[in-house]
Structure formats: C-alpha cells, structure tokens
C-alpha cells in the first residue's frame, strides 16, 4: 500500500495543491486528473524522489509524507526506493535489441538462465518472441509502450508511477494497451499511480480517481 498524507505544493508562494491524501492498495491503480500546470508531474517527482519534502527547486515547494507499507519514503534517495516510472516516451534504448532492453532491467543476482528465461517469457507475453534481436525502432508505437511497461516491471519495483503513458498512442491502440497495463499491474500486485488528462484512461484503470482543481483561483 502506497500512502500519501498532507501533500501540498506551491509555486513561488501560491498554492497549487493543498493537503492531498490518498492510499493505493496493492494491485490497484489510482488516477489523478487535472489541467496542465496543476502540479501532477511534481507529485510524481515527489514520489520518485527527485523532489524532496521541504526542498525548494526553481520556486517549487513540496511538503507532505509518502510511505510504502507503512515505511516512510521521504528520506530515501531515488535509487533506494525501487520505484518504476513509465512516461509518454517509451524510452527504450535505441542501441540495444529488445531482449537486451529487457535484460537490462532484470536484477543481476538471478541466475543467467533465469534472467534469459524471464526476458523470453516477457517477449512471449507480448506475442513477439521472434523480435528478440530486433531494435526498438522496428516495433510499432503500441508494442514499444508494452515493452517499456514490461521492462519497468521486470526490475521488480515496489510501486509504479505512470505519467500519461497512453497520450502518444493512436486512439485505436490505447484501449488494448490500457487493458494490458492494468492486467500486468494486477499480476505484479503493486500499487500504481496514473497521472493523465484523459478521463477514459482513468475509467479504464477501474480504480479510484482524484480530480485536482485550481485552489488558488
């Protein structure tokens, strides 16, 4: 369970978000909606560890408490948080084959054969076992998004952050990719937070939805 308590955000002194509370259970996706500039991305930065409680970066000031399974996250550096982040761009490394991209994320302490087996398993799940040695640019946008999600999950994150991961996809593809994402999160059984503009995204995730509105105006 990922919990956020009393999250507030201000930009140059004016409040953007005040006293936001939420809990996300394992395997659930909470959606956060709101207009641009309301501070959705800053919330993600706060949770991923690039924006810290009480620190001021470029006029942005965040405060609040984030915890995972009751353990406070505030003082942990990004690399110790085991956070997965999926963004608009799939960010597959263009100079590595698909399977290398997947292997990159799989923890090193596993046996070599197990690492290959889980990468191969992921490819089969995607229905592209024959594309193991092709480069990311050979895949369609929808396939790239799915590979990116599986790559993130193969790193065994404790919680997942989704920053409008569907917005660059064709509308026809979106439905499939959304269902795929939800299914994978449920199987991984970790809490996930989705930030989006699109109400359909939030609906498809079948979870709670928080709509942020401008408080300062």
């Amino acid at each position: 369970m990922l919990s956020v308590k009393q999250f507030s955000l201000s930009l140059n002194g004016s409040n953007l978000i005040s006293n936001l509370h939420f809990d996300i259970a394992d395997g659930q996706v909470l959606s956060i909606m709101g207009p641009s500039g309301i501070g959705k991305s800053s919330l993600l930065h706060f949770l991923s560890g690039t924006l810290h409680h009480g620190n001021q970066v470029g006029g942005l000031m965040a405060s609040g408490e984030a915890s995972l399974h009751g353990v406070n996250l505030n003082n942990q550096a990004t690399e110790n948080r085991k956070v997965g982040l999926l963004q608009q761009m799939p960010l597959l490394f263009p100079h590595m084959s698909i399977i290398e991209n997947l292997l990159f994320a799989i923890p090193e302490n596993l046996h070599k054969q197990d690492r290959y087996a889980s990468a191969q398993q992921a490819l089969e799940k995607l229905g592209i076992p024959d594309k193991a040695n092709t480069l990311p640019k050979a895949l369609s946008g929808g396939q790239q998004a799915r590979v990116a999600l599986l790559r993130t999950l193969l790193a065994k994150p404790d919680y997942l952050l989704l920053d409008e991961p569907f917005s660059k996809l064709d509308p026809a593809l979106r439905r499939d990719v959304r269902a795929f994402v939800l299914n994978e999160i449920q199987q991984a059984n970790i809490p996930a937070l989705l930030v989006t503009h699109d109400p359909d995204d939030a609906k498809a995730m079948k979870g709670q939805c928080i709509e942020l509105t401008s408080t300062s105006i």
Partner: protein, 581 residues
Amino acid sequence: MPLKHTTLITWLMALLLILPIAVGLIGTLLPAFQYFPPLGEHRMAFTPWQNLFAQGEFYASLKLTLITGIVAPVIALWLALSLLAWGYERAFFKKFEALLSPLLAIPHAAIAIGLLFLLSPSGWLVRLFSPWLTGFDRPPNWISVQDPYGLSLIFALVIKEMPYLLFVMLATMKSIQARESLQVCQSLGYSRYTAWRKVLIPQLYPLIRLPIFIVITFSLTVVDLALVIGPNTPSTLAVTLFRWFNDPDLSMRFMASAGAVFLMLSIALVLGGWEMAHYLLSKITRTERSNGKRHGLTDAVLAVGRILGLVTLLSGFVALLLLPVWSLAKRWRFPDALPSQWTFDNLERAAPLLITLTSNTLIIALSATLIACLVSLLMLETKRLIAKGTNQRNNTRAQHHAFDWLIYVPILLPQIGFLFGLHVLLIYLDLNGALSAIIALHLMYVLPYVYLTLKGPYLAYEEEYLRQANRLNHKPWRNYVLIKLAMLKPAIFTAFAIGFSVSIAQYLPTLIAGEGRYSTLTTEAVTQAASGDRKQVGSMALLQAAFPILVFWLALTLPPRWTKWRLAMKMTLKRKTKCSA
C-alpha cells in the same frame, strides 16, 4: 556522470586551461625585457626591443606578415561567401559540401607540400603545358613558389581557410532562416547575389566573427605552412622569430621574445582594424541596401569569387592527388605529365623511417585525443549539472560558463607567442624532450576542438533515457557509459576524428616540447619539404593526409552500423556455442 563537487571540478579545469597559457605568456614577456634567470639575466631592460627595432629583417618580415596575414583571410572570406551565395540550397551543393571535410581534415603541411608539387617551376602545372605550349624542355627559371611577395603562401592559406569558413557558414545558416529570407527576396524580384549581399551576409557576419578571427590569427602566425611554401629571405615574422628562438646564440632569444610580444600586439591591432573596417563598410552600405535596386554591379564580385573559389578548391584536390603520384614514381622526367615508370621502391626504402614516424605520430595523436575526449566529457558534464542547478534562477550564468570562452584562448593565441615561454617551464620540470610533454602540448590544441564539437550533441542529449536506466538498475557509472555515451556514439566519434586530425597537423608543439627527439610525419615532412627528395617527402605527406581521412571515414561509417554489427556478431557467437554444446 554521477559527479559531485562540480564547482571544484570547474575551478580545477579552468586552472588547468589557464595555467600553461599564463606561464607561456609570462615566459615570453619577461625575456622580452631582458629578464631571464636561466641565462643569468636578472635585470629588466629595453635592450631586446632596441635590438629588434634595429634589425632590418624585422621590418621586412613584419611587412610580409601583414600582407599575407590580411590578404589571405580577406580572399578566403570573399571566396567562401561567393560559393555559399552561389550554391546554397541547390541540389548539387550537397555533394560539394561532402568534399569539404577531407580538405578540412588534412594537415595543412600536406596540402602545402602538394601545392609545392603543383606550382613549382618543375611542378605538374608547368609539366602539363610543356613542351607543346610553353616549349620548355627543362624547368623554367621562375620563382612560382616561395616567392618574395608571399603570393604562394597566400594561395596556400586560402586553400586551407576557405573550406573552414564555408563549413562554419553552412553550420550557421539555419539560425538566420536563410531559406525563408531568400524566398522573400526572390519573390520581391531580387537577384540571388543581391539578396545575399543586402540581406543574408549582413546577418551572417556577426555569427562567424569568431571563426574569422581564428583564421586571421592563424594567417598572421602560421609557421609550418610558411616554412614549406612561404618566402624565405626574408620570411614572415613568425618564421623569422622561430629561427631566432632556435639560434645557437641563446642571446637571440631576448630579441625573439620581444618580437613575439610585438606579433601578439599586431594581431590585436589587425583584429581591431578589421572590426573598424567592417563597421565603416556596413555604415557605407547601409543606405545602399534599401535603395530598392534588384541587381547591382557588385553582384559581379560574388560571381568572380565563385569562379576563383572553384579554381582554389580544384587546386587543393589536385595538390593532394599529386602526393601519391610522387611517392609511387620511379622515373619522372621534367616535361612528362606522369611518371614513365612506377614503383613501390620509394616506400620500401623509406619504410624504416616511415614506420618510426608513423608510430610516433599515432601514439601522440591517439593519446592526446583520447585524453581530450575524457576531459571534454568531464567538462561538459559539470557544465550541464551547473546549468541544471541554475537554469530557473539565473539563465546567464549557465549560458556563459567559464569553459565556453576559456576554451578559445589556445586557438586564438599565436603558438609562437607562448610555446617558447612554456618550454622554459618544461625545462624546470625536467620534462623537455619527453613524450608526455608533447602529448600535453598537443592536448592544449586538441581539447578545444573536441570540446566544441561535442558540446552541442552532449547538451542536447535526452537525459530521461539515463534517468530511466538508473531507475531500472542502480549502477550510475555503468549506465553513463552503456546508455548515455553509447547513444552519443556518432558525436563522440566525430569529435575524436577532428581532435585526431588536429593533433596530426601540429608542428611547433611537437618540435618545441620534443626538442627534436621525437619526429612525427608532420615535423619530418616540413623539415624535408625544401630539401628536395620529392619521392620521400611525398610519401610522408601522403601518410600524413591518409590517417585523418581514414579516421574520418571510420567516424562516419562505424556509428550507424555499430549496433547492427554487434547484434550480428552476438548471434553468430551464440550459434557457435550452441553447436559445440
């Protein structure tokens, strides 16, 4: 790069950049006033200056330097602008642009030697027209290279500088929206050349001011090119100073130092005069620009420049082609246009020497360039981190980072002005004649080019890839190399190739730091250029030209195919292990 202490690194790097130059300048300035403890001189005096101004050779050399150093950049700029105005955005010009890079990559000494082979009285040009047109059975008694007016030197300088200026201009064309402006002008009925003259060139000039200054400084101070193809009695000031510095009579050093200081002052004056001339010219032409005339007589200036520019480029290429011809010639009597017999004997005979020279050259060039790449990456990463920390609060500090102007100092200062001063430091450190000293001095000239080439692509890198990698596995150093550097491969390879060719071309730094103990292809080719064994000199110049071309070719060929080949290799290896298992 997961760096800490960015401010400390910045200061250290800046110090490393400034220190050798400052030491070199002081080491030149003090002897110019008779202060030189190693020779037992502890009192300041004006004697060196009195000696300098009493030398007739000084005035003759200075005159030559000013003529060649000002005329060459003017012509180079004129021809480069003409070619650009003529060909920009036309289909054939793309191929033309591709031809520029070999000319840029090849050390200027190699081009000068090729020109010697082309233009001298027994050169290819005279051979081509003899005896059927000229009636010459033996080389005429002309002075067509190393002429006392420095015309051949000017020609060589233009061949080297015009492609550089053209290259720089092409890179800046996007930022002045040249295509759109041209379309507007042409729809208003302006001829192509008039549009360039009235609209584009005035916008272009401020953006290429710095490269022009580099070209002027180079023309005023070049030593190797002037040794090969410049006049010798008297020679240009830089060459005269070089001779004085190397004179067995050590007291000549005082006068030479005073001369070096004078040369640096002249550069400042010439640059000031150049800017003044530009200011006046733009004042005068301002009203003319808006007089509405769609064509003008001055269009002819650009039209003529275009033809001269093409001739210049062509001569450059012919000069280069003559290098392999000479190195493979067995019998080549005077009026024949080509050797009557060919052989590999020249190369074979020179092989022991060529192998030593080549290995020295490559060791120096590869180490200096490799270090330059690493230092550039370190500098750019600190710059990026500092820019990231300040971009919201203080934009100017991030944009005008100390590195960005410090890096130009070694390129803008004349080598003759401070390398001899730096030599004194090397003696104190007991590093004179050491290979490491040569590499360090090369580094000073390689680093700026590598840094400036890498800067754009490095700072434009999408950092999110690296961040995602660090979220997936927490090995920041490994990810920096395997993700960020691997993705920046094309830029790094190109920067390496440029740095490599800069190092290959160095003459003075090699000679001064190495004290003649380590000869490279360049130093040996320049030394022997005048002596006359064209077959041997041709072979050296050929190798000198061949390595940069090879490295450039690799830098363009490897990166786009790297991943494909790597994966293919991996597949083959996998298949083999499967079969054997």
